[in-house]
């Protein structure tokens, strides 16, 4: 289970430090930023509303990453593939949403019932589109390579990522595009102890939480969900149970794609800017989230997504947006050093 090679015997003092680090290092790493800046806020401003604001923004952004990360983690869990095209499926979700708003004529001025219905319809359309797209990608680019060298599908994944980005580029042009702000995303809904909660925050968390709960229930309770888990743990034994492994893998891609579609819609509504390369960044972040949480583990993916969301906002606010990605990745490295299997890492075949 641990790394196979162990350090040679070391002087005692060093060992004590090492033991301490291996026990508490992870906690120290995770809490370092919020605690440091919390103390700074308390001493500078006397309350924690600035940090609170960062955390709320972080949770909203993070919940989008979480939905995308689940798709990564599901796919990795079942066929051990880093599905580089997944972020771009998410992008297509955003584009579908933006296109569909226009088609059915949703505007910010409509009444709440009409808007809610319209958005719900959009959600379904997005989820179906990206779900189907993801299933198609699996059929075309990954299934023919089953049994091929493990790295071959990695390259087809990258290839598909390029293809989808090009589709996005032709669809809506090369630069970021502002779209209608249907829900007045940044309007404050209410304020708790100095922390503003906006419409966008409510939407992001309000959509993500039920989706994640549904997903976890589906996978742990339902027959098909169990088939997915069984296939992930031992595909050959799963076949002996009468599970159709190909269908189960397709189902996994369907679910992952649907969540990416939902995330795409939330992203479009929350950020109100979309562009063809958004999926690349999102994919990288979501994959990092999946690994951080322990790849193959849904709850881990959600936790990883939320943590990254919070790190990003704190870093944006205190350090500077240009450094934010570096800080996120530095966190990833530290977490891997202290807990190589990720925060909630289960034993996967690969990680050991």
């Amino acid at each position: 289970m641990e790394a196979a090679s162990l350090p040679a015997a070391k002087p005692k003092a060093l060992r004590v430090v090492q033991d301490w680090l291996s026990k508490y290092g992870l906690i120290v790493v995770l809490l370092a930023m919020p605690v440091y800046y919390g103390i700074q806020d308390l001493s500078d401003e006397g309350d924690l509303s600035r940090l609170g604001g960062n955390i709320v923004d972080g949770l909203s952004n993070g919940s989008i990453w979480a939905l995308v990360a689940i798709g990564y983690t599901l796919v990795y869990g079942i066929i051990e593939l880093i599905n580089f095209a997944h972020g771009d499926v998410f992008m297509i979700g955003s584009f579908t949403a933006a296109g569909f708003f226009g088609t059915i004529g949703l505007t910010a001025g409509m009444g709440i019932p009409g808007l809610a219905l319209g958005l719900f319809l959009t959600l379904l359309v997005c989820m179906l589109t990206t779900g189907a797209l993801n299933v198609m990608i699996e059929r075309v680019a990954y299934r023919p390579l089953r049994g091929a060298p493990v790295l071959a599908p990695l390259i087809t994944a990258v290839g598909f990522s390029f293809i989808l980005q090009n589709v996005g580029l032709l669809w809506r042009g090369g630069s970021q595009e502002g779209i209608g702000d249907l829900i007045n995303s940044q309007n404050t809904l209410f304020t708790i102890t100095g922390v503003e909660i906006t419409n966008g925050d409510l939407l992001a968390m309000g959509t993500t939480i039920p989706l994640v709960i549904l997903m976890v229930m589906f996978i742990t309770r339902s027959r098909l969900g169990k088939a997915m888990r069984a296939t992930a743990q031992d595909p050959e034994a799963a076949r002996l149970m009468g599970i159709n492994v190909d269908t189960t893998i397709s189902l996994t891609f369907l679910l992952g794609g649907m969540l990416a579609g939902a995330a795409g819609l939330i992203y479009a509504l929350y950020q109100t800017t979309i562009w063809y390369a958004q999926g690349f960044t999102a994919g990288l972040i979501a994959f990092t989230a999946a690994v951080m949480g322990g790849i193959g583990n849904i709850k881990g993916a959600v936790l990883g997504g939320l943590i990254i969301g919070i790190i990003q906002q704190i870093a944006d606010n205190r350090i500077g947006t240009e450094w934010t990605p570096a800080i996120v990745f530095a966190y990833l490295v530290l977490i891997m050093v202290f807990k190589p299997s990720g925060l909630l890492g289960e034993q996967t075949r690969e990680a050991g």
């Binding site: 289970m1 641990e2 090679s5 162990l6 350090p7 040679a8 015997a9």
Partner: protein, 264 residues
């Protein structure tokens, strides 16, 4: 083995290993006399392989102290322990499948070789000599364990099961170990092959002065070859002694052997 035995090649004291909350090995004292053939038996999950893995450095003991040949090796790195003279085989054969039998054995000599990065790139005369020497020695070891010479340069994956076991032992021998650990060497062998292996173990000890520690389920092999037996159950030592004593020990029969288990 008790403290009274003066010449222990390996002495493990109060060794335990805890995974999560699960105690795999709990406070075991264990010694191997130099030049002996000793067996470790016990039901599955008793902690035998975990114990092996601690001796070879794959696992770091949670508590305890292991001394090999008067050097402390507790928690040392596997490659360093190997270099000190402990070599092993695995329960499921772990040969490098795409290498020939000879190359596999040459890997076993890795620790005895000196060619580094630059030496390998420049391929100096010294490096060439070393390669030749190591290759010849590999052939010697393969011949010693009884592999037919025409199979030396066949890929390991294409060898018969019994031959793969032999190559694995030759690979372990290539490092000139003092102590050889064999983890279920007869698993998957038919009785005839098992007998040959038993003979090989005796030869290794008699001709090369090797000390052997064996994990084995086949009672016939265990009883036939061991001078001393230790029985583990649930991570604890429940019995030890001469084969006859162990075989008739009530706890061992209850936990492991069963009533009519030993067919002879």
């Amino acid at each position: 083995m008790t403290d009274a035995s003066p010449d222990l090649i390996l002495d493990a004291r109060d060794v335990s290993k805890v995974f999560g909350g699960l105690t795999a090995v709990g406070g075991v004292n264990f010694g191997i006399p130099r030049g002996g053939i000793v067996s470790l038996i016990g039901p599955n999950g008793a902690g035998k392989t975990t114990f092996f893995n601690m001796l070879t450095g794959l696992y770091k003991p949670t508590t305890g102290r292991i001394v090999f040949d008067e050097k402390a090796i507790t928690g040392g790195r596997p490659d360093k322990i190997m270099a000190l003279g402990i070599a092993r085989t695995f329960q499921n054969i772990r040969l490098f499948g795409t290498m020939s039998a000879r190359e596999n054995v040459m890997v076993g000599e890795h620790a005895r070789m000196r060619a580094g990065l630059f030496g390998s790139i420049l391929r100096t005369p010294r490096v060439r000599r070393e390669e030749r020497h190591v290759s010849d020695k590999a052939a010697e070891e393969l011949a010693y364990v009884g592999l037919p010479p025409n199979t030396f340069d066949q890929l390991a994956i294409n060898l018969s099961y019994g031959d793969q076991r032999r190559v694995e032992i030759a690979r372990a021998l290539a490092s000139d170990p003092k102590l050889l650990l064999l983890d279920e060497p007869t698993a998957g062998m038919n009785p005839q092959e098992s007998d040959e292996l038993t003979a090989l173990m005796h030869r290794l000890r008699d001709e090369r002065g090797l000390t052997i520690l064996l994990i084995e389920h086949d009672m016939k092999v265990v009883m036939g070859v061991s001078e001393y037996i230790t029985v583990l159950d649930h991570g604890e030592k429940i019995a030890e002694g001469l084969p006859e004593q162990v075989r008739n020990d009530d706890r061992v029969i209850e936990a492991y052997l069963g009533k009519g288990a030993v067919h002879e």
